[in-house]
Amino acid sequence: MEHPAPQTDEELMLSVQGGDAGAYQELFHRHNRSVLGYLRRRVRDEEHASDLFQETWLNVHRGAHTFKANQRFRPWLFGIAVNTVRDSYRKQGRRIQTTEMVMEPGVPPRSNHPTRMTIEAAIDTLPEHLKQAFLLGAVQGFNHREVAAQLDISPDNARARISRARSHLRKLLKPE
């Protein structure tokens, strides 16, 4: 017996727009782990990440009508996650740190770190604007145009941020 091909994310999203709760559940099942993985890296607070996770999926539902038939679902989903984090900081009256460096690029802490840093720890040293671009572009695999749309910056700027993030990480992860 032939089984029908699984529906694509985009097909499921169109079903969600038609009120199909089962399609929403299937999308949730496919992407919930990667969304939570992104949010945990983004905010580094498990409880806050859980709140954002729930809010992100509710926003997917609330904003389902904004999804267009020619869009890709994953970039759209993560765009919602990015905005949910941004709104959360805004509501809390906290400004997302975009310029201050926890550790200045070009000054890897070699003398204080006899063993190599893990990639996780190194990502945490990235300034916020580089971290955002790196998590979306390098970790989640979105292209420059998609990252640009998610962060509301130009594609060139997205490319530059990802490149600078990688350069920063190399200095930490590959001393000598």
């Binding site: 009120g19 919930n32 939570l36 859980s50 729930q54 390098a138």
Partner: protein, 249 residues
């Protein structure tokens, strides 16, 4: 010292490390309660009126007396949960043949109901060939092969009643509310024979809708048994598992 393939990939210096390694880095395991909360919140958005009416039914009285499905607490509930955790999926010796219906729907996701009982002798798995009495307490555990809504049903010759409905993710857990296992206390109004069943729906449905649908397809002439109840559910293309209980009056 060389970097691992995942790190090299993230730095743009190596190939994709493969699905497994990539997923291990990208993904985080979502706690079942977080997933359930999220799906429940979504369901409220989708079908606010239905979900609300279903919740309010949890407090209705049955036959003019307080419902005996309550949230168990403390050490006893923990003990019951431990017993349920240890229960084998397959029926053990002592189960009456044919008393437990386990998903006859060919293409339906598997669903498994396990029950424990607390009696004066302690906590043990529920046995279909044993008779229970007033004061004994039943606990429920599920194992579901797919996300969805689970409905705990109590069926007697008098009818079918939905006791509890809640969204779940695939996996196994105690049927619980607020982190505490749900429990049913036997009293002297229980009929001699009853069936507890778990039925899964893809989306939330109201208790009335579900009980009416099941009643509509139940064979009224057939004796009440897990098999007949689950056959009715399967007719509606719903996963089902059920257990019979005998009560001494």
């Amino acid at each position: 010292m060389s970097l691992d393939p995942t790190t090299l990939w993230l730095l743009g210096e190596g190939p994709d490390p493969g699905d497994e390694a990539r997923a291990a880095f990208l993904e985080a395991k979502v706690p079942p309660d977080l997933a359930a909360r999220t799906l429940a919140a979504m369901a409220e958005l989708t079908d606010g009126a239905g979900a609300t009416s279903m919740r309010s039914r949890l407090q209705v009285h049955r036959g003019g007396r307080a419902r005996r499905l309550f949230v168990g607490g403390g050490a006893v509930a923990a003990l019951a949960a431990a017993v349920l955790l240890g229960l084998p999926t397959a029926p053990q010796q002592g189960d009456l043949a044919g008393m437990t219906q386990r998903g006859t729907g060919a293409d339906l996701p598997a669903l498994d109901l396990r029950m424990a009982v607390r009696t004066d002798d302690g906590v043990d798995r529920l046995r279909a060939d044993q008779t229970y009495g007033a004061g004994d307490v039943f606990y429920f555990r599920y194992e579901a092969a797919a996300d969805g809504w689970l409905h705990l049903i109590h069926a007697t010759q008098a009818g079918v009643q939905v006791l509890e409905s809640q969204p779940v993710t695939r996996g196994h857990a105690d049927l619980a509310r607020g982190g505490e296992p749900l429990a049913w206390t036997v009293d002297d109004t229980d009929p001699n024979q009853a069936v507890f069943a778990l039925v899964r729906t893809v989306r939330p449905v109201s208790a009335d809708e579900l009980s009416q649908a099941l009643t509509g397809v139940l064979d009224g002439d057939a004796p009440l048994a897990p098999t007949t109840l689950c056959q009715a559910a399967t007719t509606l293309e719903l996963s089902c598992d059920a257990q019979a209980v005998r009560v001494k009056r």
